[in-house]
């Protein structure tokens, strides 16, 4: 079992300090931060490209995607940072994310004409295998459990 003798590398800047900072990137949290990272990269690059090249086609949809991108990037950062304050901030953002997904998802279904092109959160994130609606729920469960 070669792998199991590997010494865990220093966790993160905040993890080295003697104060018992809550480490959020461990166990299931690693999978969570990976998925949030993927969603961040996907949403940020998508909205940057769309806003830069074809903003006029669907301003509302692309703006909403940009908001989603900011939320994902911020949650990824707080998860990596760890600590109690980051945990609370991430919890609030996950709740905001869930509200956003549900609002935008319902909006796109109720008024499709307002959206000439899809957003990240269209149809509750169907284009992303419903990860956008599942992620905040699992995120909040994990963040509640990670509390000291």
């Amino acid at each position: 079992m070669a792998g199991e003798t590997v010494v865990p590398r220093s966790t993160s800047e905040s993890g080295i300090q003697p104060a018992p900072a809550t480490r959020l990137v461990k166990g299931p949290g690693l999978l969570l931060v990976w998925l949030y990272g993927v969603m961040s990269v996907g949403a940020v690059s998508r909205s940057v490209y769309q806003i830069a090249t074809e903003y006029d086609r669907a301003p509302l949809a692309y703006s909403l995607s940009a908001i989603a991108a900011v939320v994902y990037a911020f949650i990824t950062y707080t998860l990596f940072r760890g600590g109690e304050r980051a945990r609370r901030a991430a919890l609030v953002c996950c709740a905001a994310e869930l509200v956003g997904v549900l609002t935008v998802g319902t909006w796109t279904l109720a008024d499709p004409s307002a959206f000439p092109d899809a957003t990240v959160w269209s149809d509750y994130g169907m284009g992303y295998l419903f990860i956008p609606v599942l992620l905040p729920v699992t995120g909040m469960l994990w963040l509640r459990r990670a509390r000291r």
Binding site: M1, A2, G3, E4, V6, P8, R9, T11, V25, K26, G27, P28, G29, L30, L31, V33, W34, L35, G37, V38, V41, G42, S45, Y49, L129
Partner: protein, 119 residues
Amino acid sequence: MLDALTVAVSAAALALAAWCGFAAFRDQPTKDWHFIGMAVVTLLALVQLVIGVVQLARGEKADEGATIFVAYLIGAFAAVPAAGFLSLAERTRWGSATVAAGAVVLAVLEVRLHDIWGG
């Protein structure tokens, strides 16, 4: 050529996802053999990246635009190694689960790449 590579990368990614998913199921961290598997998949994605860029340079067009095509090629190349690095620091089943998730992401990117190129 590109189509064959897309199929090959997708199949390799799904196999890696199943393998690492099985390791996670058996409560095992990623081991040396898993990392060799990740290296193989990453190599295939790198070949795909190079050939995709060469095709563009030779004047072929991607249906949805060259920028998006190259962005997805880079994303496909980076997905599995990034998950692999994360699993180095997490010597539990969750490291294996993360690599499996990374491989699934790669498979999804391959499907998108196929659409973007216009297969």
